[in-house]
């Protein structure tokens, strides 16, 4: 595996000892858990049903230097799970820790440990690329000098120097996504969350984003990557959780999942798991209705 060299993002000096060096000699299972989700439940109030369960006892872990994929159709609960990881939403039940910090008890520390990139590029229209990245750096408590150095590096790395003074409203979607990634990386977080980060991007920009994600793994970052595009997940992720209707149907390395279910193709595997789940649900409702009679 390539650890240094062109295309690899070096971490900030203060973060480096933790993720580099010793980390590289460990296997995935030996590394400490960077993300730990257990029995996570998220319910929303619903006028008709009383409550709607968006996440139903979801559990997964992710380690440094790993890309963990959340694969599922729209409404599967991927975004809800990621919003809980980023402390934007509170869990109804279950425990979630990020970098050892509890999302409910230490939300501030969790937010300092993550970088979040979403479908929506979330770039301020009336701010320049430089100002946007600088703003988030300041919110992360970075000193002016460290921040400037880091920004110079990121703008160089993502070839954003041409758009330093371009307002968000004048940027193309690709440019906006670059700024968004730079913004998420500014404080060199150990955890990165990409929520449908390639959705709506053209092929070239999407490919660039995927390359960036892959290069970030090489620096020891723990990456959660959610997508509904099977091929992306298959190519990029070390382990995958297949989500459907708020549940994780199965999870593991893509090869292992393929062998377990006798499907080499991830797309086929996905449809197979969903249809099995639907079948189970039908059986349960049938049993329940028979029981009542």
């Amino acid at each position: 595996m390539q650890r240094t060299g062109e295309g690899v993002l070096p971490s900030m000096p203060q973060a480096a000892p933790r993720v580099q060096g010793r980390l590289l000699t460990l296997t995935l299972s030996e590394k400490r858990l960077m993300i730990h989700v257990r029995e996570l439940v998220k319910s929303y109030p619903d006028l008709k049903k009383g409550s709607f369960t968006a996440l139903d006892r979801v559990s997964f872990d992710a380690r440094p230097g790993e890309i963990y994929g959340l694969l599922g159709p729209n409404g599967a609960g991927k975004t809800t799970a990621l919003r809980i990881l980023s402390t934007v939403l509170a869990p109804t039940e279950g425990t979630v820790t990020v970098n050892g910090f509890d999302v409910q008890k230490q939300p501030g520390k969790v937010r300092r440990s993550i970088g979040f990139v979403s479908t929506n590029t979330a770039v301020y229209d009336r701010m320049t690329a430089w100002e946007i990245v600088e703003y988030f750096g300041r919110l992360h408590g970075m000193s002016k000098q460290v921040l400037t150095e880091r920004m110079e590096f990121l703008f160089e790395r993502f070839q954003m120097n041409d758009i330093r003074d371009v307002l968000g409203s004048k940027m193309s979607t690709g440019m906006q996504q670059k700024v968004s990634i730079a913004r998420a990386l500014i404080h060199d977080p150990p955890v990165l969350i990409f929520d449908e980060a390639t959705s709506g991007l053209d092929v070239l920009v999407a490919r660039e984003v995927l390359r960036t994600v892959a290069s970030l793994r090489e620096t020891g970052k723990c990456i959660i990557f959610s997508s509904h595009i099977m091929r992306e997940v298959e190519r990029l992720c070390d382990r995958v959780a297949i989500m459907y209707r708020g549940k994780i149907l199965d999870e593991g390395p893509t090869e292992e999942l393929g062998e377990k279910h006798g499907e080499k193709d991830v797309e086929e595997l996905f449809f197979r798991l969903i249809s099995m789940h639907e079948l189970q649900l039908q059986r349960r409702s049938l049993d329940a209705s028979e029981g009542t009679h």
Partner: protein, 760 residues
């Protein structure tokens, strides 16, 4: 909260808004342009109005004989050549009221005029047609009015100059014999109205001169027709006179622009960020929600205050120029220059006003999912605020305790007093106004922060609201206690029902009617709504109304605390009455009540009615349902204070409400700490009983005993007996009161009403 984060967020928001053309135009550029433009337009229009000459067509006037005046009387003529006599129409007026003179009259015109005189209110086609013809004639002749002198009947006896003995006119009853002048004009046209005003002024002067001359001829003094002259003398200082209009305009402008100035930034910073997706990114940053809200609120406040101040400056500077322009033109305006100190008062008041509107606008705007939706939500805010501001503009509205306690109205009236230089009046009500404004700002800021903390609001999806589904949900998702919204609704409902429906009862004229109306109104309007709501909206009405046995300790403690605090509360009540004296109607009502109470079968009946019934009914409502529901705020002090304020508001008389609110805090403390309603009922009963008994004691044999003067001092106010506690008694009782309050504090150290193990 980290100040650095607030600063970064504030600076970013500020920069963002300063780059937004819409905000810049509405908040900063519009005020700078609006008033100078309005001022210039006003000057132009008024110049046009003042300079617009009018023309009067005088028909039939030859000389004074036209009025039946004998030629040998040297009365001044109305017209000299083809203009009004300068004795009646000075030169500057004469230039604006020219004359077209026709001594004779054509037959056609004569016929038209005669018919119009004979049938002034003829609405038939013929009459309308006739009026139209005269109107057209005025247009053709290029005149605005027609002044018609009918020919004096030939052979008719003269009015003036004849021998008074032989004169036909002897008394005012012979009004038909008085010569008439006719003025025809189209009052639907402004020019005609202006000409009419000018002509009437000229004719009045002419008439006065004729009267004076006539009196002089008859050797009568001028007082025969003018027994007195009215001379108006204004005692107001020039500054005060000049301030009166500004004192109404400036606070209104300040408040309306503080509100409008908060709108756009609030929508853009909340709904706009949601729309652009940047809000979620910000929420993922290390900045806490409270820091984000405060940063945004400060930004909205900056624009709100800047907008208000720019508008004020612009209107004052424009006003200055307009007044100067008019003064230079020699016109007298009923308004002077804005008082210089007004800017200071307004710039101080703009801070709480902007803070209030900014937090309200932000709390409302965060609910919206888009900027378009945000605009809809902010309209109700404007509709609620406007009447409160308009109340202060009404001529009869003055700064008094009642108006001082109305948010915005009180602030506006306080500013009015300050601008008019009525500092004593302003100081008197400064504390209530600032207290209400401060509470409103605090509540709205808290609301803003809580709105931002609710994920159901930040990530609100579109939903279909059905009344039936909503009612089903209310019943299905019942909790142990009422929800905060339900508790507030119940409190307001009780206040409304108790205030309005109690008016339906006739004023009690006997003990029986007083007892029945008091009991019915307390049971039906105060206790029943919370009881029904507890049954339908909570899982366990007993728990939700705090009807759990607390043990004898808290009950005895509450009784002792009520005894210890009663003197202090009575003193507070006296102070309130002294600072804010009640109306004479209040004393009349009290006297009526005293006479009704004298008819009671005994003291026990009065205690039962005035102490027992409210202690149960009001406690069920305000501590039982309302405060327990408000415990959902997760802050017992907020729950206690809010329920106490609602309890105070339920007492109809304002002075009574203030004392009741303070008592409500003690009641809330007892109920919350003991997690039971019984100690609160015991406290309430003891408090009211002591009030009844101390008043009754003053007029009984007890007052004769040696110990009574040690405890009480009796005075009379407007014929009513008032019992005061002696100061030493009050002070001595503070010590056990503090000990008891501390004892209650140890009972419940949490902000919850339910014990941990019994949480549902």
């Amino acid at each position: 909260m980290q100040l650095s984060n607030i600063r970064f967020i504030y600076m970013r928001e500020l920069r963002d808004q300063l780059r937004d053309r819409r905000t810049l135009f509405t908040v900063l550029i519009l005020p700078l342009l609006l008033y100078p433009l309005l001022g210039v337009s006003f000057i132009r229009i008024s110049q046009f109005m003042r300079a617009h000459p009018t023309r009067c067509w005088v028909v039939g006037y030859q000389n004074q004989e036209s009025l039946g005046i004998q030629p040998d009387y040297a009365f001044p003529s109305l017209l000299v050549d083809d203009a009004f006599n300068s004795d009646f129409c000075p030169e500057e007026e004469s230039a604006l009221l020219t004359v077209k003179r026709d001594t004779g009259v054509t037959d056609a015109l004569q016929k038209l005029i005669d018919q119009a005189i004979r049938n002034p209110d003829d609405e038939s086609n013929e009459g309308v047609d006739r009026r139209l013809k005269i109107q057209n004639l005025l247009i053709e002749e290029q005149v605005d009015l027609l002044l018609y002198f009918p020919p004096y009947p030939p052979g008719a006896p003269p009015i003036f100059g004849a021998d008074p003995e032989n004169s036909e006119v002897h008394s005012p009853q012979d009004s038909e014999a008085i010569p008439k002048l006719y003025v025809f004009g189209n009052l639907a046209r402004d020019e005609s109205q202006i000409a009419r005003t000018r002509l009437f002024a000229v004719l009045e002067r002419w008439r006065t001169t004729i009267v004076d001359e006539n009196l002089s001829e008859s050797q009568l003094p001028p007082t025969a027709s003018r027994p007195f002259v009215i001379e108006d003398r204004d005692l107001a200082a020039t500054l005060g006179r000049q301030a009166i209009l500004w004192s109404k305009i400036l606070p209104f402008v300040m408040l309306i622009w503080a509100l409008t100035g908060a709108f756009y930034p609030a929508i853009d910073t909340c709904a706009g960020e949601k729309e652009r997706g940047t809000l979620e990114t910000l929420l993922c940053s290390p900045a806490a929600r409270s820091e984000i809200v405060v940063g945004k609120m400060l930004n909205v406040m900056t624009f709100s205050a800047a907008s208000a101040m720019l508008n004020l400056l612009s209107i004052m500077v424009s006003g200055l120029f307009i007044i100067q322009a008019f003064q230079q033109a020699g016109s007298v305006l009923p308004v002077g220059f804005p008082p210089p100190l007004s800017l200071l008062w307004l710039s101080l008041a703009v801070i709480p006003a902007s803070a209030l509107f900014s937090s309200l606008a932000l709390a409302v705007a965060v609910f919206a999912r888009s900027t378009k939706e945000g605009q809809y939500y902010l309209v109700p805010l404007l509709l609620i605020s406007l009447p409160l501001m308009m109340v202060a503009l009404l001529p009869a509205t003055e700064l008094e305790l009642g108006t001082a306690l109305i948010p915005l109205t009180g602030l506006m009236l306080l500013l009015r007093e300050l601008i008019e230089g009525e500092y004593l009046q302003a100081i008197k009500f400064f504390i209530p106004v600032m207290m209400v404004t401060g509470v409103a700002v605090w509540l709205s800021a808290r609301w803003g922060v809580s709105q931002f903390s609710k994920e159901t609001i930040i990530f609100r999806e579109s939903e279909q609201l059905g009344i039936l589904s909503w009612v089903k949900q209310l019943i299905r998702d019942r909790g142990t206690y009422a929800r905060v919204g339900e508790a507030m609704f119940c409190g307001l409902l009780v206040i409304l029902l108790h205030s309005f429906l109690s008016m339906l009862f006739p004023p009690p004229n006997s003990w029986t009617s007083f007892a029945s109306t008091t009991a019915i109104s307390l049971i039906a309007f105060v206790a029943t709504p919370p009881l029904l709501m507890a049954i339908f909206l909570t899982r366990n009405p007993f728990k939700s109304l705090l009807l759990r046995w607390s043990g004898p300790g808290p009950i005895l403690g509450a009784i002792a605390l009520a005894c210890c605090l009663h003197p202090t509360l009575m003193w507070i009540s006296h102070w309130v009455v002294e600072i804010y004296p009640p109306s004479p109607e209040f004393f009349t009502l009290q006297k009526d009540l005293e006479s009704v109470l004298l008819q009671a079968p005994g003291l026990w009946a009065i205690v039962l009615l005035i102490a027992g019934t409210p202690a149960i009914c009001e406690e069920i409502a305000f501590r039982g349902f309302v405060m327990s529901g408000l415990s959902g705020l997760k802050n017992k002090y907020a729950a206690i204070t809010l329920s106490a304020l609602l309890f105070g508001a339920a007492h109809g008389i304002l002075q009574q409400s203030m004392t009741a609110s303070v008592t409500g805090i003690a009641l809330g403390w007892v109920a919350f700490q003991s997690r039971s309603l019984y100690p609160a009922i015991a406290y309430h009963f003891t408090h009211n009983s002591l009030s009844v008994l101390s008043a009754a004691g003053a007029e009984s044999q007890a007052a004769e005993t040696f110990w009574y003067p040690w405890l009480f001092r009796v005075t009379t106010d407007e014929g009513l007996t008032v019992v005061h506690y002696q100061w030493p008694t009050t002070f001595v009782l503070w010590l056990p009161a503090i000990a008891l309050i501390y004892g209650f504090a140890k009972l419940n150290k949490t902000h919850q009403l339910a014990r941990e193990e019994s949480l549902d």
